[in-house]
Symmetry: C2
Subunit: 146 residues, 2 copies
């Protein structure tokens, strides 16, 4: 999660919502990383964990991330949670909970829907305070500027 937090900080530095992600292979080595790039890429789907999963799949040469773990500083939204189903990720570890935008423990609760084709293991609240603090700082500065 420390590694993912580095990418969250990097996002904040360039004015993106500070969320960072890392995809780990079955042996625990880093396969790919990502941070939010919504504004820079003009792509509302360019969330940290979706970019990291896409890059990991590219690198592994398969659309399935079997045995892989996605580590992300914020609870995934419904889009990213559903993408984890499509990518067949084995595990998702996230930092801060997101009652408004989350789709794992909140909102659509994608993995809890009957018939969900693949349900990753979920570990939430890892480095929760640090992950939430960087988001709070970012939005406080944003409000102060506007």
């Amino acid at each position: 999660m420390d590694h993912a937090l580095v990418y969250a900080h990097e996002a904040a530095l360039v004015g993106e919502v500070p969320v960072g992600a890392v995809v780990l292979g079955p042996d625990g080595t880093v396969v790919a990383v990502g941070r939010n790039e919504v504004e820079a890429c003009h792509d509302a789907s360019a969330h940290a964990e979706l970019l990291a999963m896409r890059r990991a799949a590219q690198r592994l040469g398969t659309p399935r991330l079997l045995g892989c773990t996605v580590v992300v500083t914020l609870e995934p939204c419904a889009m990213c949670a559903a993408a984890m189903v499509h990518f067949r990720c084995e595990r998702v570890v996230f930092g801060a909970y997101d009652p408004k935008g989350g789709g794992v423990e909140h909102g659509a609760r994608v993995f809890e829907r009957p018939g969900c084709l693949h349900v990753p293991e979920v570990i939430g609240g890892v480095r929760e305070r640090a992950s939430a603090q960087i988001l709070r700082d970012f939005f406080r500065q944003l409000r102060a500027r506007s």
Copy 2:
């Protein structure tokens, strides 16, 4: 929808699940198109409508597809439905209903969740039979080959 069906057929020809999509601008002109590219791109998120939305946003130079309509031959999954929220699409028109994989009228029912930040207008079942038939033909041929 006829335009989207052309791209669904194109997907089938190259061995991808035959779903096609078109993004229309506020004036009804085509901004971007897409078809499933999951296998070719090694990207489980490369669904027709997500690719079309990303391309449309690129072309318009903004991560928001305000006033735009997404036309897609199959009911969007939860990932694509949630992406439509992020992209702020005004309307989604889809062909076949998808009781197993859909996330609009089935499963996560993304737009119906309390607190959903943006709810597009939904028109389902347009050219439903043609949209479903191409999927049925594809999977029948796939089974016959295996």
